[in-house]
Symmetry: C2
Subunit: 326 residues, 2 copies
């Protein structure tokens, strides 16, 4: 596991440096305040997974042009824009180990800086002069806003279905991964087949990534996550481990779980009881299995592509998405 991470990081070290440079170079606001607020989030670190995926997808299609780094920032700015709005929507207090922007400044500033970052990614996309790239971005933003709205308005709903969950995580996470990979193929001038292959990889990776992320809330200690355990549930987000366990639970356990989930907060003991039930009814295992299926499909999508170093890294990233502990 540690080896896998180390191998990925060694392979993309130069890419991450170039992405970092471009993130600073293309932010370009007219106002210092905007630079401060956007920079607070963007330069607090972050895995840069989305721009990296675009770069790798482009390289897997034979494109090594330096300008690809510039276009890759689109996907980090887009991501940052949604983080700014989502933290506000969810009332999230911390992000990337720093206080969230809406608490450091104020909610209006976070809203408007998010709008600016969205606009910035659009400007960069427009400068590519490729309408199909804009369609990808437009599709991502439409889906993300609706995924978040759906999640918000099903907050705490105990009748959330597995299908609904898939729709939400597709919209809020997988479509961006998918779009970043498709954009990489586009910029490389790849044809429809290769574009679709890379888009499929991104989609399945994104689905698995979100499921793995949702699992962490129940499998990792609060110390490891750097926040209190059960944060999703405290925000009223019912994810697959819970949805599956609720569907399978005996009547008395169902009622117990509902009581814990619906109450105004829960104790550490109650949370441990819940995690025990999630395990007992297979919610954890089931989610892991679904994530694993998506990783399988992500790798399968790459089958037809020429074996390259970039492809190897994409395989490693798929494995890592599933195995990561944080």
């Amino acid at each position: 596991m540690k080896d896998l991470k180390a191998r990925i990081l060694a392979a993309v070290e130069n890419d991450l440096e170039e992405i970092e440079k471009e993130l600073a170079a293309n932010l370009d606001p007219h106002l210092d305040l905007v630079r401060d607020v956007a920079g607070h989030l963007i330069f607090a670190g972050g895995k840069r997974l989305r721009p990296l995926l675009m770069i790798l997808a482009a390289r897997a299609c034979g494109c090594n042009r330096q300008c690809a780094y510039r276009f890759s920032t689109i996907f980090e700015y887009l991501h940052a824009a949604t983080l700014l709005h989502d933290d506000l929507v969810d009332g999230g207090a911390m992000r990337r180990g720093r206080p969230a922007a809406h608490t450091v400044w104020d909610p209006p500033t976070a809203v408007l800086t998010g709008d600016f970052l969205l606009a910035r990614s659009l400007s960069i996309a427009a400068s590519a002069g490729r309408p199909e790239l804009i369609e990808v971005i437009a599709n991502i933003t439409e889906n993300m806003s609706q995924g978040e709205i759906q999640q918000l308005h099903r907050k705490g709903a105990l009748d959330m279905t597995e299908q609904e969950y898939y729709t939400v995580i597709k919209r809020k996470t997988a479509v961006l991964f998918q779009g970043a990979c498709r954009a990489g193929a586009m910029i490389a001038g790849a044809g429809q087949d290769r574009q679709q292959a890379l888009a499929d990889y991104g989609y399945h990776l994104g689905m698995a990534f979100q499921m793995a992320d949702d699992l962490l809330d129940y499998t990792q200690t609060g110390e490891a996550l750097g926040k209190v355990p059960g944060a999703d549930l405290r925000e009223g987000k019912l994810t697959l481990p819970v949805i599956h366990a609720l569907a399978k639970a005996r009547d008395d356990d169902y009622k117990l779980m509902c009581r814990i989930i619906s109450g105004s907060g829960f104790s550490r003991e109650e949370f441990e009881t819940l995690v025990h039930l999630l395990n007992a009814y297979g919610g954890i295992a089931y989610t892991g299995a679904r994530a694993s299926e998506h990783i399988g499909l992500a790798k399968q999508a790459l089958n037809g592509l020429e074996a390259t170093k970039a492809l190897e890294v994409m395989h490693d990233i798929a494995d890592y998405a599933l195995a990561r502990k944080i």
Copy 2:
């Protein structure tokens, strides 16, 4: 004045109907909730001035294609997106005679629906397959978000300069008018000269429109406006009438004005005193004169264009922007 409005409305009656149809047809969300929230604002009326300007600009350049109506919705959706976010930022309670969306639903829903509308306008723009149109939209959104941030962070600042005011209203209003007119010319396939002429018309019209709007807060009764008088000032927005009067005021009057503006709210009497001083120090007249100059420049920008019915209407709209009482 009434005749002018009636003449404009008669000339664009069919256009407004077509725009209305397209606004309903292109909203197209996946979620009923999004349709409800977006529709609450969009179908509460509104002048449809921005899409109308795009249509007229296209027609002034010889384009009568039906598809122009579809593209014109871009500018109303963009406008609606910013209204949703701005009402939230300003804490505005009413919009178009209805309670603002963030009060009917909640702030998160207003943020995310605004994001959706921005994404929707982008999708429609992308479907035109013209990268230069996307650049216009990106430029509008970047400017608008920064104009709003600048306004927000200079809230209540008594040292706001005339130049700063112009920068803010350019970004938050004029750039959208300018973009709508330029887009109309683009869709008509007009060359750079005509594109620039129409963009200039839109820019100057937008500057005058915002100044006239800012004047209304001090020249109209609360009854006529449908809200309490002095709303801008209550929100901490120092507009040109105040900025000019503060710059010209004698020391004692300057202090009196500052006291009224800086206090936590002001009485009807205090507001009347302020309006008296705005008049006495020429703040009202000066703002009217600047708006009038912009209207002159807007009309002048159209000079080189062929005389058409559309051009006549654009002249009428320029006159109306200055003369409107509400």
